[in-house]
């Protein structure tokens, strides 16, 4: 497929790894912020292709992983209500709340439906005027344009039975939290390509400067990932700080302006708690007061829920790049994708799930033959 196959070219992948090897003179620790990239790195064995001086640590960019437990528990309570159709991205259904997940609510008779696009949830609401339709509006900047449009459309259509449970997070405040943390090991960032496709990367140079940490806006194919690493390593080796766009076919400095405009019309910045990490100031989006009528937390009383996290799970340290999944005593034994203790073992973007799925495979063969 165009824009995919050529960025998996085995010869160029090997060549890129050699170019990186030629640049490296000492150890560097880089973080890929995006969980989708963590999966791609393990799937294609990129970590094994890199010279041993380069360590990749995995960041918190997994939306289902950082959605706070309290919001999951609210979702479970809403989904169990008799007149509610609860709609969600598929990834959320197996995320453990306090003792159960959306799958088990559905098994117990709750009307829980997976939607591909938030517009599907709007359609379900217009087709079921006698039901309350709630959409679980989670994610980073990549889902925000879609989630914002669902609210905007519902308002334009005059729907009275549609609401959203919002749990939106933003990348730049998380970068501040990681780089400013006392246990920080990150010396360079691979910035998440599709977050930047929406938001641009105009917010990043000031972060890079403040923490003396170079960054490369990075895509998702093997060559994109290696190119991102190469560009960051070049900056590190030269002692330079800057932000390089290593994914220029999809990302511009300004980003997608129509998408940013609608996000800002529907949402406003707020403090947000991240599961396993804690509160990060100004790191979330919530509905603007003009759209308060679409806020599921106002429409339904879900405030008195007690939440309780698994005491064994180390997802918080994994999400901050302090530990890696195999360092968890529960990894692969007490905690598996079928029976996850923490959200990082669930999703197609969770670091624990990536290690579980790909670690046993022959990592290099897919790159050689793919």
């Amino acid at each position: 497929m165009k824009y995919v196959a050529e960025f998996r070219d085995a010869e160029l992948v090997k060549r890129s790894a050699e170019l990186i090897r030629a640049e490296v003179s000492r150890p560097w620790t880089l973080m890929e912020i995006c969980g989708g990239q963590t999966h791609a790195i393990l799937r294609y064995g990129i970590d094994e292709l890199l010279p041993e001086e380069i360590e990749l640590v995995h960041g918190p960019g997994c939306p289902v992983c950082v959605t706070p437990l309290e919001q999951i528990d609210k979702a479970l309570a809403l989904a169990a209500l008799p007149n509610v159709i609860f709609t969600s991205y598929g990834d959320m259904l197996r995320v453990p709340g306090s003792g159960r997940d959306l799958f088990s609510v559905r098994a117990a008779g709750g009307d829980v439906r997976v939607v591909y696009s938030p517009l599907d949830a709007v359609r379900i609401a217009s087709e079921n005027p006698d039901k309350e339709v709630v959409f679980f509006a989670i994610g980073f900047e990549t889902t925000a344009p879609a989630n914002a449009m669902s609210v905007y459309q519902a308002a334009r259509l005059g729907l009275k039975n549609f609401s959203v449970l919002v749990s939106h997070v933003r990348v730049p405040p998380a970068m501040h939290a990681i780089l400013g943390g006392e246990h920080n090991r990150v010396q360079g960032f691979l910035a998440a390509g599709h977050v930047c496709a929406v938001m641009g990367y105009w917010e990043y140079p000031s972060i890079a400067e403040r923490y003396h940490t170079p960054m490369a806006v990075t895509g998702f194919e093997p060559l994109d990932l290696l190119r991102g690493v190469l560009d960051v390593v070049k900056l590190l080796e030269a002692g330079e700080v800057g932000v390089v766009n290593s994914y220029a076919r999809a990302v511009t400095f300004e980003g997608n302006r129509p998408a940013q405009d609608l996000i800002n019309k529907v949402f406003q910045v707020c403090d947000r708690k991240w599961r396993g990490i804690g509160n990060i100031p100004m790191s979330g989006w919530e509905l603007r007061p003009e759209y308060a009528a679409f806020d599921a937390e106002r429409r339904f009383d879900v405030s008195a829920i007690q939440s309780e996290e698994s005491p064994v799970c180390i997802a918080g340290k994994i999400l901050q790049g302090q530990l890696k999944p195999p360092q968890c005593p529960a990894f692969g034994t007490l905690c598996t994708p079928q029976h996850p203790l923490g959200a990082t073992m669930v999703s197609s973007e969770g670091a624990c799930a990536a290690y579980y799925h790909y670690n046993k495979a022959d990592l290099l063969s897919e790159v050689k033959h793919g």
Partner: protein, 88 residues
Amino acid sequence: MCLGVPGKLVELYKSGDLLMGKVDFGGISREACLEYIPEAKLGDYVVVHVGFAISLLSEEEAAATLAVLREVSDIEAELDVRPGELQT
């Protein structure tokens, strides 16, 4: 959720007041909202996330990225040097 897949725009239409399209992902076709890429034309490649096109892919930039790597590769072959021996 953030992976986003590039696909080819094969159909354009309106659904209600929304600009929509059909996007082909190597044989699998899905509907995508095009409100954020109103300039997209048939045959363009777009990155789609949760049913929304968020980025129009640039053929020139894609070619430029690959060209840099291929060039290094070709020069090394021409000069018969070991891979990685040339500095860029």
